[in-house]
Amino acid sequence: MGSHGFGETERLKKCKSFQELRAPKTQSALPRKVWGSVLAGSEMQRQQSRLLAKREQEKRRQDHRTVQSQRSKPGTNTSTNRLVSPTENIYEPRPARSFSAEEARAAMRTVLEGRLNGAKYEPQGSALAAVELAECVKKAVKALGYERYKIVCYLVLGATSPSDLSCSSRAVWSPAVDTYAEFCFQNDSLFALCLVFASYHE
């Protein structure tokens, strides 16, 4: 079975399986017509409640944004009106297409150079600019289309000053499939260091 993307096609498949479930109700035997159909009905109710319980546990991928906050606010979970089919969340230990750090770096370079060339550091506006930049870089990396990869984009924006800035990162992950990319943009007024971490959903 191929790798699964998340989206509309999955939802449509689930609706079909729910309709198939409804069919048994009409097949109850005639002699014990009332008793048979009640049994079929209650069986269907049990199945429905099992499916409903599964549905409530359904997880959706959400975009999530933080700005210098100590707590991450949970993204709003849109109500999932779809059923979970047994084929969802298959364990796939290897990605169909491995994340390429080079491609990600090129995407980051395009975004940062495009937006920051000639920009000046402003104490008031830079907080918002940092968030927007992080969001843009994340969208650009997402657009590269690596399936089953979770993306974390971390951006540091500051004024070029005589003082030092040191940044270090470590991760506990699967080195075979997870990786990172970094790019640092600098001009005479500001610098922007961008790190993108790609973690495979196994």
Partner: protein, 115 residues
């Protein structure tokens, strides 16, 4: 906050992570002044200790920890992050810490794995 945690036991625990990271930072650079020759070693120690404590919790997560330290000089610094993940199980936590001579910002990102 309690409702959020009760609703899904698999959610990332921000408070616990916050405490762990603060403790690690205090242990390593708690009482010292900025020192250019030692800063790399300090940052590496903060990150590695935080990671070690997080992994010891035994939760089914992959962790990414970043630490940025800047000497206090009047210049401004902003950090931002944007993530594409499953917000019901994954989470992040950012700890800002300062001393007389430096600022330290540590971010922890926890990405869940299926077991």
């Amino acid at each position: 906050m309690e409702d959020f945690q009760a609703a899904d036991e698999g959610a990332f625990n921000v408070d616990e992570t916050n405490n762990i990271v603060k403790e690690c930072i205090d242990n390593v650079i708690g009482g010292v002044d900025y020192n250019h020759s030692k800063i790399n070693q300090w940052i590496a120690a903060v990150v590695e200790q935080s990671l070690m404590h997080l992994v010891k919790m035994g939760k089914p997560y992959k962790y990414i920890v970043t630490c940025a330290v800047m000497q206090k000089s009047g210049a401004g610094l902003h950090t931002a992050s944007s993530c594409y993940w499953d917000s019901s199980t994954d989470g992040s936590c950012t700890v800002r810490w300062e001393s007389r001579t430096m600022y330290c910002v540590v971010s922890v990102f926890a990405v869940s794995i299926m077991l």
